[in-house]
Symmetry: C2
Subunit: 228 residues, 2 copies
């Protein structure tokens, strides 16, 4: 994903050609990453409107005025967070459409990748979920151009596998269920912790999640027995 939202003008302003440039650029990049990381957490916790620039700045260890030297506006910072999360997600997912494995195995890995993303980047997942649930008013265009085509292709691929086998469940809804279930291990972690009584979610917990969800998907395809 491109970095359109970055403050290019300021980068261009750092005197080019001097020996100090790369070092300064490095520091700037590091600081940007710190800010983006904290922004992701704060936006996930409080939503776009609930989060304040001060909150994020304090978490990143600088003043809000200083933060706004690196990012031109709260809105731009928010979009960068969403861009980075979406970018990471698209890179992490091995699309069903581009896999040359047999379908049950491809689905198994698909579920694993999505589940691992929820675990590795829960705050990012939650920021994305908050945006979509609230109607994606700020981000609908990006979703339409970057997410929807990938998902449509995956559904079509799954459908092409299912049809000759006369599987009668819907490929579309099967994919919806996979997204929803895997996503929920980031989004609803709070509620899961309350139900299980655990304060954090362990390796074993996620392994069970993966196993159960895989059995559900393969079970619906009528090949549960082939997956033990």
């Amino acid at each position: 994903m491109d970095r359109t939202h970055r403050t290019r003008s300021i980068e261009a302003a750092t005197s080019p050609g001097s020996a100090a440039v790369s070092r300064r650029a490095r520091l700037r990049d590091d600081l940007e990453q710190v800010i983006l990381g904290e922004a992701e957490r704060v936006f996930a916790d409080k939503g776009f409107d609930g989060a304040t620039v001060s909150d994020i700045a304090e978490a990143a260890g600088l003043s809000k005025q200083n933060l706004m030297y690196y990012f031109p506006s709260k809105q731009a910072l928010y979009e960068r967070v969403l861009d980075d999360v979406l970018d990471d997600w698209l890179r992490s997912m091995n699309a069903l459409a581009h896999s040359d494995l047999p379908m049950p195995q491809a689905l198994r890995l698909y579920i694993q990748a999505k589940l691992e993303f929820s675990r590795r980047r829960p705050a990012g997942s939650r920021v994305y979920a908050l945006e979509v649930i609230s109607g994606a008013k700020q981000y609908a265009q990006q979703i339409k151009s970057k997410v929807v085509p990938v998902l449509r292709k995956d559904i079509a691929t799954l459908n092409r596998w299912m049809e000759p086998r006369q599987v009668k469940v819907s490929a579309e809804h099967l994919m919806f269920a996979i997204w929803a279930a895997t996503q929920s291990y980031a989004d609803f972690a709070t509620q899961m912790q309350l139900v299980t009584g655990r304060s954090s979610l362990s390796d074993a917990f996620f392994a069970q999640a993966q196993e159960t969800l895989t059995q559900m998907v393969l079970g619906a395809l009528g090949s549960a027995e082939a997956s033990a």
Copy 2:
């Protein structure tokens, strides 16, 4: 659910015993319902912090000062919305634990009820989801006391059915998947509409959702063949 958050003091102030009382009380109740309905929509669209009292008042057709005559604070209004949604949800769900049907049939009805709730009250579902995803900072206590016990019981019931049959998937994660998938038809409706290209979700769409999800659950239990 009780109505602790209602402005009892004002109700008590309406001169009791007169013929006009019931009519006035009726109007008040109606107006309260209008406000609550609009509040649910606005909170779902913008979150607690993004929503303003003015937004809700305008949607309900009164001034914000007038709205705050009926609800003492934005916070109280928000909690009433969540209370009402949770109340409705608990009444709508025929808990697995209290069903005397055979398990596959009980699960089928459970999925149907949850799916119907997502369809009937999408805004309420989304307000609840936004609250949980953001860490349920305002509502954790209510979830702990009213939601978690029900879900724990359902998981235990399902587990008691699974164990003698040596089903090796996890009852806990099976239930998590059911909640997540059914909930997503309210929460991620926007994204689903973008993927399917439809502007609204039809009867047939929900029927397919129900069928597919049921097959997934029963398939994981190894009784897919018993469900046609």
